[in-house]
Point group: C2
Chain length 340, copies 2
DNA sequence: TTGTAGGCGTTATCAT
DNA sequence: ATGATAACGCCTACAA
């Protein structure tokens, strides 16, 4: 395929030096209004498009941001990316999007592909398998701006955007207790994840505060195989001292719970109340409708992007500060936790 | 941020000429095994990473594919991208992902950003607003390989991947009729879309074949504002000659139907049977579970990617052939269309 | 088999 | 205000 016209060609059409044309197009101050106009109109006429790679090579920046997420088929991550894009596209940045599929090895490969300057920065949420973080440290040490959201990596001193995981889990658990639950199970994806730890803390503290003893048999570590999880939860619900409430730290585990309950001939909320962190679009079309803790996903994406754009576009910005910024989630009570 | 070491630096560490090092790393035949090994081991030791922009500039290809979709918060598109990525990543390609948010103007902007070679090819599904296609024609005329999936653009002579829209809609409609529906409504996003036209044809032909007269009042063109659609469908369901069956050509319209039904105190499937094209992960957790026509989304993505990779990696490939390739959808009957 | 040199398309520096 | 030149990092004729 033939790319468009080059700066040099454009210059020769105008009988000008390439540098002059460049200045005109880049709105330099050392250029006459007259030639600037001439150049711009000719550039438009010939539909001149600067070659991004020549520019990247010259300026050592790519105008590209890499986004790494654990999975695409997940509204939360899709919303975050929408949020990021809404800001970055305004500033002429492009988004390379990678999914790790919850696989650390894939994550490492992706990260290593980004060591060569292809992206000016990285926004990511780590995979549930990620415990060794040397690959991320590596990137950080090279000076590439990294920014975490949701599933953050505490060991890397950079900016992280999360929701109020602890408080939300605390409130969610308290809500279950207020609805009469005595034995509340906590479903998690992986013990390594930052969100697991914080949400679990909130869960434990709520139990404690309400004088309920935590039962370690009710802390369930699931896999990312839905079928396995359904079996696991089904077994849990068949045990003699089965839980009467469930806090799912991620959406898919709530859905697996619904499936497991169906197979067990139990009833939500009569036999089991369920609350979940979830950004699904139709919690109210489930049967019963699902009580959710919804993260401000799009806002998280936007905030990530804003801070990044500032860092990337303003001259001599300091490194991204090592801080955790929390945007509050929203608890919406629906039928799955109601007494009837 | 400091990028890694350059080829030139690597060469000087080895007391070799840059060209020699380049040859060693690119596995040229005109190089001795000995130096090749030396170079490679040193390159690994120093973690040499070629600068992608220098390479792109030199070779006039970016190793990047742009994917343009109408929305991210949609399992179908997420699955397609997963499918694309599964193939392209194996070949060292990166994915720039753009969402038009169903907005032609955004689509035009995105497309114009891709005129400068930033991507080696485009895989896209057009926005529901797209009727003027000059921006796409433009791209095509520049010789940039474009490939459409799902919502294709017939006017552009290139390869398109779709599902068997006509047949699926035909079967879906017939299924509704077999379940006793006499007045079946067809919900669409936009009359312009290729998928709308094909699915509508299938719907009409099924009616005809079963001897049911089509009623133009039952062809409902919705917007992409969920709330509006719910109102629209609610009104439809309140009319005296309301439909007793609905074929939703896209998932979100089935969901709006569920919402509308809830507000109307009607019952699915007793008062209204619903079938929908949908790739949602939990059709069986809806109340009632939703009868779906599910597209082979991931396979579509993979096929797109395969044909593209072939085109991009093999020397002097012909243009992408002007053909429509159809992968069959799957009809899964659930409660929303059952007689009880 | 290895080295030298030129150019991909920009932009910044220096000279005019 | 404009032009000439060099450089970003890589690859590939061409020369040795």
């Amino acid at each position: 395929m033939k790319n468009g016209i080059s700066l040099k060609e454009l210059a020769s059409k105008l009988n000008l030096a390439p540098s002059t044309v460049s200045r005109a197009l880049n709105d330099s101050y050392e250029i006459s209004e007259a030639t600037k106009k001439k150049v711009i109109s000719m550039a438009e006429h010939l539909n001149y498009q600067p070659n991004p790679f020549a520019r990247s090579l010259r300026e050592n920046k790519s105008k590209t941001i890499a986004v790494i997420i654990p999975e695409r088929i997940n509204n939360f991550f899709a919303q975050v990316i929408d949020g990021i894009e809404s800001i970055t596209s305004e500033h002429g940045y492009h988004l390379l999007v990678y999914s790790t599929h919850e696989d650390v090895e894939k994550e490492k490969k992706i990260v290593s592909l980004l060591q060569n300057g292809r992206a000016d920065a990285i926004v990511m949420s780590v995979s549930s398998q990620t415990s060794d973080i040397s690959h991320l440290k590596n990137l950080y040490d090279r000076g590439l701006p990294i920014l975490f959201f949701d599933r953050v990596c505490g060991e890397i001193p950079t900016t992280k955007f999360i929701t109020n995981d602890y408080e939300s889990a605390f409130e969610g658990t308290r809500h279950l207790i207020q609805q009469g639950c005595k034995r509340i199970a906590f479903l998690m994806l992986s013990k390594e994840l930052s969100i697991t730890r914080e949400r679990y803390r909130g869960y434990l503290d709520a139990l404690k505060k309400e004088g309920i003893e935590a039962d370690s048999n009710l802390s369930i570590c699931c896999s990312h195989q839905d079928e396995e999880n359904i079996q696991l939860i089904k077994a849990l619900l068949q045990s003699s001292d089965r839980p009467d409430g469930i806090l799912a730290s991620v959406e898919k585990l709530a859905l697996s719970t619904y499936h497991a309950v169906k197979k067990n001939n139990l009833s939500i909320p009569d036999d089991l109340k369920v609350i979940s962190f979830s950004n699904m679009s139709i919690p109210n079309l489930l049967n019963p409708s699902l009580t959710t803790i919804t993260q401000p996903a799009e806002a998280i994406g936007q905030e990530c992007a804003k801070i990044l754009i500032k860092k990337l576009t303003k001259p001599r910005q300091p490194d991204l500060p090592n801080e955790v910024i929390s945007l509050p989630s929203q608890l919406t009570i629906r039928e799955s936790t109601l007494v009837r």
